[in-house]
């Protein structure tokens, strides 16, 4: 009987590792459980960190699983031993605290560069002879429950009358660094584009900037990943990555008066 429980606990790390490997290799029926394809240049680095954390977790998971199953198998049947209780062991406490702290310190040092590149060092551009942070291509306003996108119009500046307003569909050029400015109208939201490995909380009253360099012309999903109210699930947007030429053409066609211009041409 005790051997049965030993085997059951032993199956946890074995089956878990198997499913993880099948998912990462994309083998049915677990093909959807891995990460979605990455379309951001910086996303390669993030996927690397993600995989590294998984390897560390896998080692701990498999080791503890094997230990649990193995010990039950070995000692479970020997009922004459009874249970032995002890309340404290400095050596044990120190070992697992220091080991865990060591892993965390290693991770935090190891990811410093990618954190800086993705969260702190906004791309720089030359503007009128001076090097300045790249101005945002568009402003993303999160609200309950949807996304508003204000593209900087022909003047290249936000918050001017020529801003182009679109709801829920964000067009951005691929193959070049893009900066977005994030704001919230009401509560905390989180701007999440899984295909770009991009996630940023949007805090009301604050301005956040995110940047990325998309690699291909694809359509990606934008979702809110901070529970913001009952309509949280409807906060789905689309990000359409287009070529720079297509983006410029689209932007120039976005006159708020186009409805009347079209009528004029017909006449």
């Amino acid at each position: 009987m005790y051997r049965f429980w030993g085997l059951l606990f032993l199956a946890v790390p074995v089956v878990g590792t198997l499913i993880y490997l099948l998912a990462m290799l994309g083998i049915a029926p677990f093909q959807g459980l891995g990460l979605p394809p990455n379309y951001n240049e910086a996303g390669v680095e993030i996927d690397h960190l993600y995989n590294l954390i998984h390897v560390i977790m896998a080692v701990v998971f498999v080791a503890t699983g094997l230990m649990l199953g193995g010990l039950i198998w070995k000692y479970g049947a020997r009922q004459e031993l009874g249970a032995r209780y002890f309340t404290h062991s400095n050596l044990l406490e120190l070992t697992w605290s220091v080991a865990a702290a060591g892993i965390l310190v290693f991770l935090s040092l190891y990811q410093l560069n990618s954190w800086a590149e993705n969260k702190l060092e906004r791309p720089q551009v030359e503007i009128a002879g001076r090097t300045e942070p790249q101005p945002p291509l568009a402003k993303v306003v999160a609200k309950r429950f949807g996304w508003e996108f204000y593209h900087a119009g022909p003047d290249g500046r936000l918050d001017t009358p020529d801003d182009v307003y679109v709801e829920n569909v964000l067009r951005v050029p691929h193959g070049e660094p893009v900066v977005l400015q994030l704001e919230s109208r009401d509560v905390i939201h989180s701007f999440f584009v899984p295909g770009l490995r991009l996630k940023q909380d949007v805090v009301p009253g604050m301005q956040h900037f995110v940047w990325f360099k998309a690699t291909s012309p694809v359509e990606l999903e934008i979702i809110c990943s901070e529970l913001c109210g009952w309509g949280h699930y409807t906060m789905q947007g689309r990000m359409q990555l287009v070529s720079r030429a297509d983006y410029d053409r689209w932007l120039s066609e976005q006159s708020p008066w186009k409805q009347f211009a079209a009528e004029g041409e017909q006449e």
Partner: protein, 448 residues
């Protein structure tokens, strides 16, 4: 070995018990019902009866039976089909779409989503469409109560119902600045199903109010003889069945029923309500072409902005509610029609809760003043395209203090549109606002 089997069996028993609980638990939830419009009852009682008098309770069953026989239940919606094949209501609402939107949330064998209204709308707008769903109290403005038949953002003038395109647009784009989300990712057929369900709830709600308004005048006489009505029920359509029977052998009972139904359904429902919904597309307010200077500039030209500002403070009198700064801080003690509907009943004083406690108990939401829009923030509930703003100014906003402006010429309305568009970017202090309004974009244009 025996111990192992015992353990397996007992864990199996626990699992089985849980499974049984889950399965039967789902069955026990009662299917929701339409909630009677008790606010309208209380209002009619206060309007027509002495303070401590009430309408006879038998009327509740009569109104309820009539509504159910004509419109069905939330799980099984029905359309009256009073005029058979060529029924005007059938031309407005498709029964097939209605059934897709109604009922509990599920999907059929083809993967088609059912119960759309309860999935996406009911938590705010309520099963009955009374705008009093579980989340209603937490939202400003309150979710729309469809039963008054009033819609704010539409292409038709005041007192005309919105077109289907207007309703599709509201569902697809949401209402910026309110809690109405944009259902951008819903497939076309699901949006159309929801549009039909919203029209269904609206017409049902309008009809219920019409029936209740009739009750005080009956002076105790029954609204409809339920026994006769029930005997005519087994056929799918009460009117068709009675018409067929009348052709063969019209009894006195059936003739009486026909007459009753002619008034109750033909007149109150079809003539007074359905007809309003029939020719909506002809009522659309055409937006005249804007002046060429407005269209060619990236930002509203200064002279149009100045003209619009003069109208804002003068002839159009926008300043009264939107305030001298346009921050929406002018007249702020108005209520919208959904509140005024019962708040204007004699004896009700908004400052004293005791005078309207009975309305709250009947299901009315606590009155909250309507806020004029802050025009310094470029968020426009009815859409931010110039044509949208034009329609808001020219047609007004149904159900709110925002009036239509028949005295303004199209050119003047366009001038106000120009001022409204310029306002969010105008400097409030620090020199001449008019000079500061046009920014980089318009300077470029005038330079050419």
């Amino acid at each position: 070995m025996a111990g192992m089997w015992r353990a397996l069996l007992s864990s199996g028993g626990v699992l089985g018990g849980l499974l049984a609980l889950v399965l039967t638990g789902c069955e026990k939830v009662p299917s929701p019902e339409f909630r009677a419009n008790r606010v309208e009852w209380v209002k009619q009682e206060r309007l027509n009866l002495e303070t401590d008098q009430h309408l006879p309770v038998e009327y509740r069953t009569q109104v309820d039976t009539l509504l159910t026989s004509l419109f069905g239940t939330p799980d099984d919606p029905r359309l009256p089909a009073f005029y058979g094949e060529s029924d005007p209501l059938g031309a407005i609402i498709s029964l097939e779409r209605l059934k897709q939107a109604a009922g509990p949330v599920s999907s059929d064998e083809q993967g088609r989503h059912l119960g759309l209204y309860r999935e996406h709308c009911a938590h705010c707008h309520g099963i009955t469409g009374d705008g009093a769903g579980p989340t209603a109290l937490a939202l400003y403005p309150y979710p729309r109560d469809f039963r008054l038949g009033k819609y704010k953002f539409k292409s038709t003038p005041l007192r005309r119902p919105p077109t289907d395109d207007d309703l599709v647009r509201i569902i697809r784009q949401g209402i910026p600045g309110s809690a109405m989300p944009a259902f951008t990712t819903l497939p076309e057929d699901e949006v159309l199903a929801l549009v039909d369900y919203v029209k269904y709830l609206t017409i049902r709600g309008e009809y219920e109010r019409r029936l209740v308004a009739e009750l005080p005048g009956l002076e105790g006489e029954p609204l409809v003889d339920l026994n006769v009505l029930r005997s005519a029920q087994p056929k799918p359509s009460a009117a068709e069945g009675s018409a067929a029977a009348a052709a063969s052998e019209p009894t006195a009972e059936q003739t009486a029923l026909d007459e009753q139904l002619q008034t109750l359904v033909g007149e109150y429902l079809y003539e007074e309500i359905v007809e309003r919904w029939s020719d909506r597309d002809d009522a659309i307010t055409e937006v005249p072409a804007p002046p060429a200077e407005l269209m060619s500039a990236a930002a509203p030209p200064a002279e149009w902005v100045a003209k619009g500002r003069d109208l804002f403070f003068g002839k159009a009198n926008c300043v009264q509610c939107h305030g001298a700064t346009g921050l929406g801080d002018g007249q702020t003690q108005n209520y919208d029609d959904w509140t005024n509907d019962w708040l204007k009943t004699p004896g009700v004083d908004v400052l004293s809760r005791q005078t309207y406690q009975h309305f709250l108990e009947a299901g009315a939401l606590p009155p909250r003043p309507v806020r004029p829009r802050n025009l310094r923030v470029p968020v426009y509930r009815g859409g931010n395209a110039p044509a949208d703003i034009y329609r808001r100014i020219a047609n007004g906003i149904e159900g709110t203090p925002m009036p239509s402006s028949p005295s303004l010429t199209p050119e003047e309305v366009w001038a106000v549109v120009a001022y409204v568009q310029a306002m969010p970017y105008e400097r409030l202090s620090g020199g001449d606002a008019a000079a500061a309004a046009p920014q980089a974009g318009s300077r470029e244009v005038s330079g050419k």
